[in-house]
Symmetry: D2
Subunit: 303 residues, 4 copies
């Protein structure tokens, strides 16, 4: 079966109380576990133990966890990653609270990726019997689930090859310098029917551009944007529509400065859906279809 | 890789000109091929040769085509289907215009299912280079793609077992008489990250309840409903929201009486997402979350 | 200046606690005043003391209050009403809690209409300085304000003449038996730029068909519908779109059986906007543009 | 009755063919009359002869027309304007094609305002009998009607006093330097139930910031934004939501550089609705509630 989805994002934050207000009160995630230096959050439509971990001390991405279907997948992906030349190590149940055994891989882009196939089951907030479409009493934005990460890499070609050859992801959309496919500047890659489960653009290794939550629709995007203002959350860009993925979006920052996104829409991507290509002169339109411009802040702030 | 998606629906219609107006002018599909007794249609965001075939002479479902990833999948699914006790036969490139070799299976519910892994490539209407999110000049409703079928089966248990054991589908939601899982009345099954690629409810074998198009959002659903009135398309139910799948919907009929649906939204289903269960006393709420009632027409009109 | 808007609706309910749950917890109005047998509610974007009064003991409309701009308007409308042949009486500050002096008129349809030009000011929940577009913590549906009433009248012609000649309302849309204007079956009349501040259809005198709240948009309509199901509020019709007014709607019942509506959209009506006419054979389409059918319940349940 | 609404906007453009493509093909207005140096356009839900006139030769606002209810209103407003100290002159039927007699007033801000009470009736595109909620075949964005103008004035206080004392407009929202009301920087004024029929901000006399079209909702706003990109229309800001008026918006430029807006939503304003006040430090939030920032371009480009 392979990789099922992005399971968790673990980031550093400068202040745990600020993070609790942001991820808890504003985004509406539930703090499911707390330690001295970190808090674990779960969104209402997720079933596993947590999807976001914030750890006090700085800013930026600690690691991303992707859940695979079986332990055989772990073995397969470990072997392939080693063959690809990546450093890997085994991780054990409990190395991450609520997460089972797994494989830790240092990506060609120096990001740490963890694969695992088991997590403690907490269940969603609407239950499994005659479930309501959303919880009756949502908190703040009320994000249902995390969706994807976008990171930067000095060598996007190699990272794309890694996700394709090792993890069986497919590129839904690519930004290139040459229409023949050369000069890869960014790739939006998928292991599901959604247009991106991981994305990366050319930039320094090891950095996070943003991680994203899926919302139900364009109205929820606007509503989220208004709540960000009420809660003094800095908004970076949006609401607007992407060219790449066609998704609707607002980008914003957590109190530590990590960029988050709320995202809705996007089209269905199947294994035989041909890859779309954006030329670098249309990068602004690809990223923001309506405004067609990238701000300095959007391209330069990484954590 | 297995089954990728619903590829085509082939139905009977009483009049080809009426069908051309409906699937062409109202829904906005493009007639890509015409024969004396049938027309082949493609939606704007689809790449393969066609997704809907209408054949003059009566009403009802002729067959459904699901596209698989590889020819190995064809072999595997053929073998499994035979082991399951189904009648199968090989079909050859051109048996269906624009469709490659494949396997034809008579389901336990007497529906005909065709599996194939190749189709003539026509491309979408927005292209692959710097694509717009939708065509500048949409026709009518402007449906982007077909999404799923809902059929009836005398023995839903066996049909669910077929889709699970033979084709690796998973049940996203089920309606049962008993909460322990007994007395299956309907199952919504998925081979993608969307909540249903096939669904069936208890009823006579071989019948079609509806097939569905995916629209972008709740606003497009309303817009479609208004266009149906302008074009004298009979509306069955909606706009409303499903409990099962959480999707937004309008049901309507083609001029021959085959039920169609426009559908948007729905949540992401992953291989480890637990199956949701609806009890039969909440069937109305499961099907139409807001109205909570099933009309006689909705439950009894099948083609 | 004349009539400014519908100011309050006063209805009978069978149980005050049930009504408090409905108008308070589900619709999100604030109980601003309570007496032994009645509760006064205000919506978040209203400024005056209350807009809904529920009084224990039965079901149905007690009276409607429309706010006028000046005390001169009271005198003018009183005089005109008397000339029209209506029974009128003066009411004094405090006859209705929080409401100033006014004129009570028994309409030709036997409904009681109160005109007043002063009300106790409580203010909206977002304030007047740098106001947010909606309160940060909405309750339930979170209705912003009441919008209009639809009542029944044995003689719609006379009632339309009353609202036109006495209160300077204009008919935005009319349903007629004959296209020359004869056989009036319903009229949607406006004293603002919205398409209806009062509406009435042919039926028994003195009865209420529904009163309505304005919501922001089609998404809020769907969201309200889902909350109605979560809170066991019976839904009558919708979500759907009206032909008449073009508004989006869900009809539902309070626990006593009074029909409420949440409404959004509609077009701008100016004093020179020509009246639209619906022929009786298109009544279903006029009322529900997409479904084009009126249910027995929708046409017969009045309180 | 007084002023009913903004009736027409007359602007200069650098090229008539470009303007025809913009106002015709992209916005979907109909060219109802053409002269050597100008084109008259009407939107689909408007009844009068035209609402936009483009005149070749430069850029910027020639004049605005507001329609009043009666010829008595013309007399009254002429007298009041003269008393206010404004230069006025009578205009005759045909001075503007399709427009009746009227009064031309030079505003304290040096803009030319024309009042008239009659216009040639062309009718809307959905008719008056059993009308559809929108035309079956919309062109481009398909704007239904014009809504308001925003102009600049060296002395906003005097201009606000003019619209209040002469034309009976009310300020729905104001931006001030001091919370006691001093230092007026902008005023959004209404003669209808919508939050602005005219608005102005401090700036050079005689200039246009933008004129606006009303769209049905937030989805139509996004759709418009995407069409602007397809048609190479420069987008200034948006889609986003205003704090002031709560409306949803995209700002864009016509080929001559005149700023246009598509606008939806906003709240109902009644004669007794208290004026909202924004402090200058929250100006960014007032104008763009989500982004909270004004760009150099947005504040400085005037025509």
């Amino acid at each position: 079966m392979g990789v099922m989805r992005l399971g968790y994002v673990h980031t550093r934050v400068t202040d745990l109380d600020d993070a609790r207000r942001h991820y808890g009160d504003t985004l509406g995630m539930k703090a499911v576990h707390t330690e001295a230096d970190r808090v674990y959050f779960k969104a209402w439509d997720e079933f596993d133990h947590h999807s976001v971990v914030v750890e006090e001390g700085g800013v930026g991405l600690v690691k991303m966890g992707y859940k695979v279907a079986t332990s055989d997948d772990l073995d397969l992906f470990e072997r392939r990653a080693q063959q690809f030349g990546c450093l890997t190590e085994r991780m054990s149940r409990g190395d991450n609270v609520g997460i089972g055994d797994g494989v830790r891989i240092v990506l060609p882009s120096e990001h740490v990726l963890e694969l695992y196939n088991e997590a403690e089951y907490l269940g969603s907030e609407v239950g499994l019997v005659n479930p309501a479409p959303f919880p009756r009493h949502l908190v703040g934005v009320g994000v249902p689930r995390i969706d994807h990460c976008l990171v930067t890499a000095e060598d996007p070609d190699t990272l794309e090859r890694f996700f394709s050859e090792v993890l069986d992801f497919r590129a839904a959309e690519r930004v290139v310098e040459d229409l023949d496919g050369g000069g890869l500047l960014g790739s939006w890659m998928s292991c599901t029917t959604t247009p991106h489960d991981i994305a990366f653009i050319k930039g320094p290794n090891g950095k996070l551009h943003h991680f994203a939550y899926e919302l139900s629709d364009w109205y929820a995007i606007k509503n989220a944007g208004a709540i960000f203002t009420m809660d003094d959350v800095p908004v970076d860009v949006g609401p607007t529509q992407h060219g790449i993925t066609r998704g609707e979006t607002v980008y914003f920052f957590d109190p530590a400065g990590n960029r988050n996104e709320v995202f809705s829409g996007g089209y269905a991507v199947f294994p035989d859906t041909p890859t779309k290509t954006w030329t670098v002169d249309q990068l602004g339109t690809g990223i923001f279809y309506i405004g067609r411009e990238l701000s300095e802040r959007f391209t330069s702030v990484l954590t």
